[in-house]
Symmetry: C2
Subunit: 84 residues, 2 copies
DNA sequence: TTAATGATTAGACAAATGTCTAAATAAAAT
DNA sequence: ATTTTATTTAGACATTTGTCTAATCATTAA
């Protein structure tokens, strides 16, 4: 829960998730879309992975990142308790 | 959007929201439930208010805080784009 | 009108965060 | 074999964050 909110609390990381909505992508392809360095994006991807929001598969020298939406259920569950 | 995720990215603030689910409460009554000082809780309430998650009404020397769930719609809207 | 109560503001400080460059690792290409 | 390409790790650094105590503001009670 903590890791999830932490991961979502950054505009760049949220933008990465939106990017991955269009399909999996390599770390490099993701990094190209942002004005930040590759290590910075790599770090963001790590936080997203820790929260379970993305998964990664190594393909040769590339690492492909894939959106994992099932984690959102956790968030929806938390929100649900506030339903009036 | 930023203020919303920021406000939610803290366990104490989330606990305050859950507390207010049971009904409005004064700043002091809220502070009593946590091990933190009154100024700290006041600061958390301020961040929640900035995000629109709570509203405050001054009643004499007290300040009553009320949960505002309508802001969650914004969050649900953001989540919706990821629906498969 | 003075003192007490409820709450916020101001300022300090340690810890966490987001960014960078340089270095390391791993795979592919020459 | 060597070099290039893709990515991560390590370490540094400025900014933000969460907390505190002390001081201030506002309202109520004596």
């Amino acid at each position: 829960m903590n890791a999830l909110f932490k991961a979502l609390n950054d505009p760049t990381r949220r933008a990465i998730l939106e990017r991955l909505r269009g399909g999996p992508a390599t770390a490099g392809a993701i990094a190209e879309q942002f004005q930040f360095s590759a290590p910075t994006i790599s770090h963001h991807l790590d936080l997203l992975r820790q929260a379970g929001l993305v998964t990664s598969q190594k393909q040769g020298q590339f690492v492909v990142y894939t959106l994992n939406m099932t984690v959102f259920d956790e968030l929806l569950g938390w929100l649900y308790q506030f339903k009036s």
